[in-house]
């Protein structure tokens, strides 16, 4: 906590006055909007990580938020600006990670970020007008869309010139079974000179349609921010709602949430390890991993009723118990998975053709990873030693020792092996959670819900399988949601991918992309 005192003194020297409101999991600091950029500069000097940015409207004011993290402590920075003159200095000049987030906020609220390095729109294509802002109160949920929304042809991609330089436009509809987005490559021969991503194709108005929902309704929606992360997103949203409502979930519910989140991590990592191998045409591993993933999902269905555990996390608890029989089954399954992996992984480790394709490809340096605030296994494969479960632990992770897998080679192989290490760590965590669960009586899954006061808010921060998820929820009247903003780790990792593919060959893009496996849906909202 010492750094906060020192940093507040430093702000005082700069005549930046902070109105501070401490909370359980984070501190809220309100500053004057003029100091928004200067704060970022000082934060960068002090090695704060920029974690999330979003805005909201309350009557005639916009509140702009930025969330920072240092040594596992979170600070939610806030500034109020008037709706009639929505301007604030940009933090993207200091933090590259804030770039797309501020462009998103601009498209949704019409808040001008002064001196922003990239004034192009991001989330907005052509579904609403340049001077319409969907998240403002006066904008109706239905909007006034044209019968057929035209494609966005006016986006200015970076141009390149020179002998032999050519462009490859890819998407939005890709050649595989994959989400839509546009990639613009500039290449010479097979070498990638530059990659520019253009996302926002599956912007579904998630933030807008969250408004007015009940807590249960929001948990369902949060589970569909990114389907592969349904457990963790629902958890982050529920955690934020529970903070706002001052509800404490039972120890049993927390343990079950932990088990589900780790099962989700393992399922996705198994799939990704297989898919990375498939992208370099190593079918053996693909088929074996897909087989293991299928078995894992079937267990989810048989014991808990859903293959991905969707809608199992609900406000103030969980909707399904892990009873004694289920616990015993899960423990046996863990042993079986370990035995399977101990046969498969050595075969991959010794395979020279796999080595040839994965080592040194898609290199993301630790500096670049830090620059973009890269999260999760992508960050941890490039030396970013951060994991919410260990550094800002929440129940049930506060009762166990979380071992964080780390690699610093930064290539596809690193991201491959970090995933494998994380599977092993997660298996151990599930065993520990089940051990604790067996000492508790069955039942006691849902705590009593208390209607939160109007304006109360919470910030749910959990480690999803892709990395840190930050969800902001504020309540309005009658137990309804006034604002929901989920920050998926993909929003930061996408930018790092643009850098990781440089100087790779175009045919290696799919495997580079898969090794990041960013969510489009979680980014477009």
């Amino acid at each position: 906590m010492n750094w906060k005192v020192n940093f507040l003194m430093r702000l005082d020297e700069e005549a930046i006055f902070v109105k501070s409101e401490p909370s359980n999991q984070f501190e809220l600091w309100q500053i004057d909007d003029n100091h928004w950029q200067r704060f970022a500069e000082l934060a960068a000097e002090n090695k704060f990580r920029w974690a999330a940015g979003f805005a909201e409207q309350m009557d005639e004011q916009f509140y702009v938020h930025a969330c920072f993290e240092k040594s596992g402590d979170y600070v939610l920075l806030r500034a109020a600006i008037n709706v009639s003159k929505p301007e604030i200095p940009s933090q993207a000049t200091v933090y590259a990670a804030a770039n797309r987030s501020e462009r998103h906020t601009h498209d949704m609220f019409g808040i001008e970020f002064l001196n922003h390095p990239d004034p192009r729109c991001w989330t907005r294509h052509k579904a609403w007008g340049k001077h319409d802002y969907p998240l403002r109160h006066e904008f109706p949920v239905q909007g006034s869309p044209a019968e057929i929304t035209p494609p966005d042809m006016g986006y200015h991609f970076i141009q390149s010139h020179g002998v032999g330089v050519y462009e490859i436009p890819v998407g939005p509809v890709h050649a595989g079974i994959i989400e839509p987005g546009h990639f613009r490559f500039q290449a010479v021969g097979e070498l990638i000179l530059n990659l520019e991503e253009r996302l926002g194709y599956i912007h579904k108005g998630t933030e807008k349609i969250a408004e007015g929902r009940t807590p249960e309704g929001l948990a369902k929606l949060a589970g569909r921010v990114s389907g592969d992360t349904c457990v963790s997103h629902a958890w982050a949203a529920c955690m934020a709602m529970e903070q706002a409502a001052n509800v404490e979930i039972s120890k049993r519910a927390a343990l079950i949430r932990g088990i589900f989140a780790e099962r989700e991590r393992i399922a996705n990592h198994l799939g990704d390890i297989g898919a990375i191998c498939n992208d370099v045409a190593f079918t053996f591993a693909f088929m074996q991993m897909m087989r293991l993933k299928e078995l894992w999902c079937r267990t989810n269905y048989e014991l808990f009723g859903h293959r991905f555990l969707m809608d199992k996390i609900i406000p103030s608890g969980v909707s399904v118990d892990v009873n004694e029989a289920a616990s015993a089954f899960l423990l046996t399954e863990i042993q079986e998975l370990r035995a399977e992996l101990s046969q498969i992984m050595p075969a991959l480790d010794l395979n020279s053709s796999l080595e040839d394709r994965l080592y040194t490809a898609g290199y993301l340096s630790p500096e670049t990873a830090a620059h973009f605030g890269t999260l999760g296994f992508v960050g941890r494969a490039s030396g970013q030693n951060f994991d919410v479960r260990r550094d800002a632990p929440y129940a049930p992770y506060d009762s166990v020792a979380v071992k964080v897998a780390l690699e610093d080679q930064g290539d596809i192989a690193s991201r491959f092996w970090v995933r494998y290490k994380e599977i092993n760590a997660s298996l151990k965590l599930i065993e520990q959670f089940i051990g604790q669960l067996n000492e508790l009586p069955e039942g006691d899954l849902v705590a009593d819900w208390k209607t939160p006061e109007v304006g109360s808010f919470g910030l749910g921060i959990v480690e999803g399988w892709r990395g840190e998820i930050i969800s902001y929820v504020r309540f309005g009247e009658n137990n309804t949601i006034a604002r929901f903003y989920p920050r998926d780790p993909s929003q930061l990792n996408w930018e790092a991918l643009e850098k990781a593919v440089l100087n790779n060959i175009v045919p290696d893009f799919p495997v580079c992309n898969k090794s990041f496996n960013c969510s489009y849906s979680g980014c477009d909202l």
Partner: protein
């Protein structure tokens, strides 16, 4: 290399047998067929998958169709890289307005005769997202749909049975 072969042989064949479902089962599985595949196509279907605004849950289950348990290719069903090669568009998600033109163009690029399957609750009825400033809602609001599959997401088993039922020779 020995490790690899040993694992292949000890794993064996895990592929499961599935029969074409009949009317009652179709209803139970939430499958609604509006128009069956032309007899000439049964036994060989080329599918182009289009995510028009899904949360990516449906994509995970489509991927699972290719795992060794379901092994969809043995039924003559395969996923192709271009709509030009496709008989079927398998559309997931609500149609986001930003994807509307892309979906229409994909539909136009698919040669006739063609069929459209709306997979999942979002695609077949709007699901959690519905119609808004950003979403056109269900797929049939944008292109004609021949079959809907309910579920959030539908399991690979339901998906496989849907495809088998679609290909069933007309009685």
């Amino acid at each position: 290399m020995l490790n690899l072969f040993k694992k292949i042989f000890t794993t064996g064949v895990v592929t499961e047998n599935y029969k074409t479902p009949y009317d009652e089962e179709l209803e139970r599985l939430g499958i609604e067929i509006k128009r069956r595949i032309d007899q000439k196509f049964s036994g060989s279907l080329a599918i182009r998958q289009v995510d028009a605004g899904s949360c990516n849950g449906c994509e995970l289950e489509i991927h699972a169709l290719n795992n060794p348990f379901y092994d969809v290719e043995r039924f003559g069903i395969h996923f192709v890289a271009s709509p030009r090669h496709a008989d079927i568009l398998l559309v997931t998600g609500v149609v986001s307005r930003h994807m509307q033109t892309a979906l229409l163009r994909t539909y136009d690029a698919t040669p006739n005769p063609k069929w459209v399957i709306a997979m999942g609750d979002c695609a077949s009825c709007g699901g959690e997202f519905g119609i808004s400033y950003a979403s056109c809602g269900k797929v049939s609001n944008v292109i004609p749909v021949d079959m809907t599959i309910a579920g959030c997401p539908p399991s690979p088993l339901v998906l496989l049975k849907s495809l088998l039922a679609l290909m069933e020779k007309q009685k």
